[in-house]
Symmetry: C2
Subunit: 521 residues, 2 copies
């Protein structure tokens, strides 16, 4: 090893460098180069400001490719040991311990600029909900998921579809696409919808990156700060956050076993002219309730009379376990008042981030335009893969399979809850979807219940996050779709113990356990 660096700014003479490279070793060569320089720098043999050999030169000297050397330098740079100066070269960093391992520390004065401080926590969509999230440790039985069972994702068929699409249309798969979405996919969506009694032209379908994007686009287009938005109370928290972010004044209408209580809605519509009514009429999230057919008709009438758009979120309308199906509200809409959204993220695979919205009339063009401004279009690769996976027949056969399995799990949950008895909690058995809404007979402060659940290794979503204002009762949303029946039974037993513990803790007037802070995700 004979590195010469008499002066801080002198370049290392590559001609005299000897880096021990073991070609046959298990350590990649770039790692060997990286490790050599790490040692030199940490030993102070390469002080700050010294220029590393040019990648080309070092590569030819070591008999390796230039990319290998570049990878080594990149790793060193990522460690903060060297700094690249474009057009000049790579230098040992001024203070080799400098910042990169430690984010948000590169500020000179230890304070952030004024403009950053004013972008502070005044975001209306940013309540602190940490007390409502039950932390999970290894072994926790979790009813907290918002999705179906990942084991039921049709991985093999999706993989085949991806490979097929790549093989048949490699160029198109990576090319740009129509902001509305890939036309053959929109055609398939319109066929699926036609089967549900919603006749829509493929040009009335806008493909989105999941239904969250559809909600966000609609909120941004239709809701101005101060506007009234009607929601079910409780409702999907992702929608609440989109509306809050748009500056909405949220008014929650309670639900009964037939869905949103429309007798309470009408006076509000007359007085306040809402900008939007958001509803999940079928297998409602979080309560599992279905809006009756009469109320659907009534809601469409109200929307037409007062000229208020309805946003119908049909995230799980096809997941029906034995009950009869009810047509979506969109199927009753003759006037163009209903914006309909759904998603494949929940029913097929969350990692796709693929959903769609359906709208008729001028509003559609505004939404397409907003989508374009927001992210140009949803990835062609995702759309083409999914299009070669899906057909109406395959969609329904997949749904049938899910219904069979999730129906059994719904039954398992209801039976386990029955075993525990109604003296401790109350619920209504959902006819479809993912969720059961479990109301405690006694009020328990959320943080007490959360801590008890954590201690007993069971998790669920605290009902309070789904409300526009604090509810009077203590409620949990249980996802029964993502867990096998045995785990469901065991989970309910743990839950019952947790509730008992929380109640006895309340009686004793103190909390008996403390959640470690780092466990709160």
């Amino acid at each position: 090893m004979c590195l010469h660096n008499e002066s801080r700014n002198e370049e290392i003479r590559v001609g005299t460098m000897r880096i021990p490279i073991d070609i046959s070793g298990s350590m990649p060569i770039y790692r060997q180069i990286q490790s050599y320089f790490e040692d030199q720098i940490s030993a102070g043999k390469l002080p700050a400001g010294v220029k590393l050999p040019a990648t080309r030169l070092l590569a030819s000297r070591l008999g390796v490719s230039r990319i290998t050397v570049m990878n080594a330098y990149a790793e060193l740079a990522a460690e903060g040991l060297v700094v690249g100066r474009p057009g000049s070269g790579t230098y040992v960093a001024d203070s080799p311990t400098f910042g990169t391992r430690n984010p948000a520390k590169c500020n000179r004065e230890g304070t952030w600029p004024l403009w950053q401080r004013s972008v502070s926590s005044n975001d209306p969509a940013d309540d602190d909900i940490s007390c409502l999230i039950v932390p999970e440790m290894s072994g926790t039985i979790s009813f907290a998921s918002g999705y179906g069972d990942p084991e039921l994702i049709p991985i093999d068929d999706l993989c085949k579809a991806a490979r097929g699409s790549l093989r048949r249309n490699p160029v198109e798969t990576f090319a740009a696409t129509d902001p509305r979405g890939y036309l053959p996919l929109r055609r398939t969506i319109s066929s699926i919808l036609a089967m549900q009694g919603i006749p829509v032209h493929p040009d009335e379908v806008l493909v989105t990156s999941g239904s969250q994007q559809a909600i966000s686009l609609i909120a941004r287009l239709l809701v101005e700060p101060g506007d009234v938005v009607i929601v079910e109370e409780p409702t999907f928290v992702g929608a609440l956050n989109s509306f809050r972010r748009a500056g909405a004044r949220l008014i929650g209408i309670p639900l009964d076993e037939n869905g949103m209580k429309l007798d309470m809605l009408e006076p509000i519509m007359r007085k306040l002219q809402p900008a939007l009514i958001y509803t999940i009429p079928t297998f409602h999230n979080p309560t599992g309730v279905c809006m009756s057919e009469n109320r659907r008709l009534w809601l469409v009438e109200l929307a037409e009379r007062y000229s208020v758009p309805i946003l119908e979120d049909d995230f799980a309308g096809d997941l029906s376990y034995g009950g009869r199906s009810i047509p979506p509200i969109k199927a009753l809409d003759q006037n163009g008042d209903v914006l309909y959204i759904s998603t494949f993220s929940k029913i097929i695979a969350p990692g796709l981030r693929l959903g769609y919205l359906v709208a008729s009339g001028p509003v559609l063009e505004r939404l397409v335009r907003l989508k374009q401004i927001s992210d140009v279009a949803t990835s062609t690769f995702i759309q083409r893969t999914f299009e070669s996976f899906i057909s109406v027949g395959r969609y329904y056969s997949h749904i049938q399979r899910l219904c069979r399995i999730y129906g059994d799990r719904r039954n398992a949950l209801v039976e386990a809850l029955e075993r525990a008895g109604r003296h401790c909690w109350d619920w209504r058995s959902p006819e479809g979807g993912f969720f059961l809404w479990l109301e405690m007979c006694d009020r328990i402060p959320p943080e007490i219940l959360r801590d008890a659940m954590y201690a007993h290794g069971v998790s669920a979503v605290m009902g309070a996050i789904f409300f526009t204002k604090q509810p009077d009762t203590t409620i949990l949303r249980l996802n029964f779709a993502a867990l096998p029946p045995l785990a469901i039974g065991a989970g309910v037993e743990r839950l019952q113990r947790a509730v008992t513990t929380a109640l006895s803790g309340l009686e004793n007037g103190h909390k008996e356990f403390k959640v470690p802070c780092e466990a709160i995700v």
Copy 2:
């Protein structure tokens, strides 16, 4: 054929139906069933309101799978010939010519609801730019692309990566992901950035669905209606639209050969306290100009002094053709004032829709939160595929290849323009990126030039769309990266003829040709 349908509401008796099915034929069976019903309905043999046989029954009768029948019914429904009524069955539509082939026509009174009319064309981001788009016909030589050459997309390697990721991690590939983005991908991005002199922790990287989403998120977070946003004049139209949509008051600062004229900026900053400065300092879109190193330092100083965030759009900073590279502005930022964005959509493949932003300090958490509200996270499938494709070495070797090829094309364009001579137009040779900014010596109304270009089979983007207000001169943005050198030469000849024609048409006081309306995309 013995279909019995004595009454409108009577169900077809499946027992007596005979649908001729040709199992060995080339027409899929569902198409044969579809075609049978099409004939029956159009011949009036199945009048409106008649219920089609239950899918299960018909399937068993025909000896085909139920999915086959469902596919046929779905096609019929998509044609508007039948209507599904969930839970009841499929019926011949009331008026079989009804709407589905014709979007936006399902409105009863022929007018849209009031609320839709108020969502009218008052969107500030929605100027009518049809007069600025040159329509293309088959054979048109197009300089209009915003991307690189699709032939240079590393299709094979991306396909291999997708297959590899699917094989190794099928479950994770379709599962949900961190809203910030897939961590190994963020690590690679931070290594690439380290090589450019930007030391950033992977947690300071937010993966976005293309850089358009990054711009949109930043605009939504930092720009309130009425806020001043500083942009280069001209600049990227996608950014202009995001800022307009956020209600910004746009102030354009002209460019010279060293980039944004900062002497004009300072008085505005002192007086107006802008919410944001948007700049494309390297190989600027649309002009190709590079901001000098001195101005970069000066801009960072100004941002710090007046506490104004800078949004640095580095969409093509690595595409340098021979000139020395200049460090990104972010590399000079010690204070957390610079938000840096870049994209893989332009350099690797548009169909990915994959970009990222880098920010330090509290603003980053706000952006992550806004990303989550907007679309939860960028598709895991895309991120994992891309992560298995990319490494620092591969990134730079791909960039080197692009630079070699695009550099030659830049030369070809400059030589062709030289041949045409500077009496007709003027330009500066760009040192990198995709674009050359071609200024006409004479002013030509955009619609005249557009029509002449259409007539001569050449296309480019009219410069006017990149301005905050109408420019005094006539300018075109030419993309040289997406065309092979021969096409570039031929395209410039056509362009020269188009300009000559347009000028002579102007002298004659009338337009000599008319673009067919339907050609205007």
